[in-house]
Symmetry: C2
Subunit: 316 residues, 2 copies
């Protein structure tokens, strides 16, 4: 279906727009019934399903002037796919709800859906259902389903003596978000890292297979998420800053803003890196960096001491 270039959701009408959106979502072979019925029906291979859900609100989790619609689609999908990754699983299918103002351009919704579908295709997952409704502001609600070929890796399995390891870019998106917030569009690499995170999708199942004892995706901030693992596992975690090489663009931004570059790494959460604990250094798979240690006790320290910088953010 073709819409006039300046058509709004209100012009397009609910059912016409839904048809156009559904056309953007190819269905994998695990989908027995795709979008359009009261519910989708999915074939399930293993004896269990992993499920997670996230909300994104305009002005809070994204801004239309900082990221185009396709970017927002990529980010919304990545954030949810990453949750399955952090269980050691692979995403199979997603639903996406879009609440949006009636004057939202149809093109925005189509581009969002296209970006969302592209990100899902990276892991072979299908968009099997959704909902579309009018609201004052854009709210995006995503639920992801997945499966694990071995026991899911929880946040609660870290044990004293384990090593802490990280996989994926960390701090880049926080740097990008910071410069966007100050009205800049560069360094380009950081801005792009914010707009289109690149979660290490294969690394979750690999870590599970390698014997990871606990795992989480970094979404609240590295120290905040290490804190979730520490609390749920009943252990203490020490993060060693010497383990991090500070990438050049982060150094540049920190210098320009008079900030400490390590803040982006310790506090940033939008890259969807994976943080996991392993029984020993030998079991840490290739591509991961050992960044700390698990000990008896509670809480998170940085280089053996309490950290007094920002450790993430809260929603209220």
């Amino acid at each position: 279906m073709a819409f006039p270039p300046d058509a709004t959701l209100s012009d397009a009408g609910e059912f016409g727009l839904i048809r156009a959106l559904v056309d953007l979502f190819p269905q994998g072979e695990q989908v027995l019934v795709g979008p359009g019925d009261d519910a989708a029906v999915l074939r399930v291979r293993h004896g269990h399903v992993v499920v997670s859900t996230d909300l994104m609100v305009e002005g809070r989790h994204f801004r239309r002037e900082w990221a185009d619609a396709a970017d927002v689609g990529h980010r919304a999908a990545a954030q949810n796919l990453s949750d399955v990754n952090a269980m050691g699983g692979r995403a199979t299918s997603l639903t996406v709800g879009l609440a949006a103002p009636a004057d939202l351009p149809v093109q925005w919704a189509l581009d969002f859906a296209r970006g969302f579908a592209e990100e899902c295709s990276l892991v072979g997952a299908s968009v099997v259902g959704g909902d579309l409704t009018r609201a004052e502001e854009i709210v995006i609600a995503v639920t992801v389903l997945g499966s694990c070929t071995q026991a899911p890796v929880l946040r609660s399995g870290a044990r004293p003596g384990d090593v802490l390891a990280l996989r994926g870019r960390q701090g880049w998106a926080a740097g990008g978000l910071t410069v966007l917030g100050r009205g800049f569009r560069s360094p380009r690499k950081l801005v792009e890292a914010y707009r289109r995170p690149e979660p290490p999708y294969d690394a979750g199942p690999e870590a599970a297979e390698a014997g990871a004892t606990a795992m989480i995706d970094v979404s609240d901030g590295l120290l905040a998420d290490a804190g979730h693992v520490a609390a749920d596992s009943g252990v203490a975690i020490d993060v060693r800053t010497a383990a991090f090489e500070i990438p050049e663009p982060l150094q540049a931004v920190a210098a320009a803003l008079g900030a400490e570059p390590m803040q982006f790494i310790l506090g940033g959460g939008d890259d969807h890196a994976l943080l996991a604990t392993f029984p020993d250094v030998a079991s840490v798979p290739a591509g991961w960096s050992v960044i700390g240690a698990v000990t008896e006790g509670e809480g998170v320290t940085v280089d053996g001491a309490a950290y007094d910088g920002p450790t993430g953010w809260t929603h209220f």
Copy 2:
């Protein structure tokens, strides 16, 4: 956790409130990992999963002055559980996302969750995950998972010669919504029907077992949803008004408003009745009413003629 009686979401803080909400959601034996990790993990019995998602926006799908928080919770759950019912399935687990203003009373969120959990308990389903974030207005995003013990019943299976049957209250909620919209609180039975729909949860699996050829839950409006079945099945459907007994409170409201009571029945969508087609009258299970017939052709007629009243609503 206890909150001061006038605490808002902002006062409570995200993590404290999440803990309090999670406490309201008992976990069934199919839940291997409940709320609190990157994802929940569910045991799946049959080789497939049914999934559906819905959004509810304050001011559009509910008003705080028309229904209390527990009622909104019941309705949000019912609407989604009903989608699984309409596939002939049974819901097993749900996720619920709540985007809400910072000044929303904590008590509202807790009462909402309590109502939501109560409705889920009617079918033995568990709330296994969710998300909580700040927004300008309340948006509720629910995803439901379920399973069928036989092939799911789609909208597309109606065949000429089938009979059309309905199960559950129809038109009551629309009557209740209408009187609330005019500032009244009675007839009480209609208002209650709107606030707490009573979807016939067992009737979906029963219909599937009895050989229903197509099924849908009435959420857009009886004629609109019959239209979805007709379009997806490539058939025509005729609804016979003589099949309906108009309940006394609907007669009273129609008389008071100078309206036609059949409008509530043909156009109403908030009761979550089930509409299904069966090969013949003999296969229609007890409790269902035969209300029409499936023939060759396309579209929906009422008593053999085009209907010119309202047939439902659209979102944009």
